[in-house]
Symmetry: C2
Subunit: 232 residues, 2 copies
């Protein structure tokens, strides 16, 4: 096993894509896959695939490739996907509602257990099958339900305050949709989704004459990656 915290982030992101691709192959009845075939599906070189999967130990079987079921089990365990993760959403606006009705979360083991909103008049309403709760109930719900993930879906100006409340309540990670940087103490993880940055990257690709075709150097495969290795 590697030293903790030693995985380069782009590699960490590619693991999501490997897991998705392998799960899909498993569902289609495939038993083994070569690093070359896996790379081809994801727009990566086979050397990159071997290197990434090698971070976690020796998964491959020389001459036979990877056993897909073994690799899926290992990846799921390494990535913490062998258990369910509970999340709360703060912000019952459009983004919050989109998340609440996003049925793939549950399928992937992410369970939104409650939604909160600080706006007067919003708490108490029913949204996508959830009763919106006031912020005053946040700490209780997080503690009682053992919620580990908090999703910030509030406007920019209240994002830091909401993040602080989530961390104080006990979440270990924050998914931030607000278009600003959020500060958290060491030990709390953050992933940000910024729609404007996504559009900027798209405009940049066009301005710079890039195409959307996969290439081996796309060493991210992030939530927001340049298309090629995504899910699907």
């Amino acid at each position: 096993m590697p030293h903790r915290r030693s995985i380069p982030r782009p590699a960490a992101r590619r693991l999501s894509l490997y897991l998705r691709e392998l799960t899909s192959r498993l569902e289609q009845g495939e038993e083994t896959v070569s690093s070359k075939a896996l790379g081809r599906s994801l727009g990566l070189t086979d050397a990159q695939v071997r290197k990434d999967l090698g971070i976690f130990g020796q998964f491959g079987h020389p001459g036979r490739g990877y056993r897909i079921d073994e690799l899926v089990a290992q990846l799921r365990r390494i990535m913490g996907r062998d258990r369910d993760w509970k999340a709360v959403v703060v912000g019952a606006g459009n983004i919050g509602r989109a998340l609440l009705s996003y049925d793939r979360f549950r399928k992937e083991g992410f369970r939104i257990v409650a939604v909160f909103d600080a706006s007067a008049g919003v708490a108490g309403r029913e949204v996508s099958g959830f009763r919106v709760r006031p912020m005053s109930e946040l700490a209780d719900v997080v503690a009682k339900e053992e919620v580990r993930l908090g999703i910030v879906a509030v406007p920019r100006d209240s994002a830091q305050q909401v993040a602080d409340a989530l961390v104080a309540a006990g979440v270990e990670g924050i998914l931030n949709f607000a278009p600003r940087r959020i500060e958290v103490r060491d030990g709390i993880s953050i992933v940000s989704v910024d729609f404007t940055v996504a559009l900027e990257q798209l405009a940049f690709q066009i301005a710079f004459g890039e195409s959307g075709s996969a290439d081996g150097e796309a060493d991210d495969g992030a939530p927001n990656e340049v298309e090629s290795p995504t899910d699907g």
Copy 2:
């Protein structure tokens, strides 16, 4: 000038972050910045900053650092941000509505000119100040308004079809919110935003014991990057 298509994507993403940070410093009246200070703000080493900005030529002035106004102007030009970009949204559901009411797009030079929806009964409705149009009007609007960007905010099953329609209508790039890979022909750019992958990355960080603090190896700074160099 470098050869086109030669910029590594993580570097391309960092440019968004440089531009944001530099614009913020410019607004605060700063005139110059060192690669060290810029790196510190974004969680990158000064060597990384110099390398990234060096891709586009020599911006720095030895001993004085970068002139912020020059650098902002250059970055804006390189990234295609010295002009406005028109976009259309397909899908008037929660994500589409969130995008239509996202006021930062306009501020950043992205102008959504129309929203379309294929669902019976949705076209004709008013959503976030837009009249939802039927898909039959897509090609006309894209041509007449010279729209270059298409945003796919429809469910997974119709995403490819919508992307095909956008490309046929003439857009040059697609921002894809549907949780699946979309295929496009060469020359069309794609950026994907996948909420599930974002949550997966967050869970992975926690499972693997990562913290959210900035580190020099976060060589993405993507829309969906691990927090540190974001906007704000």
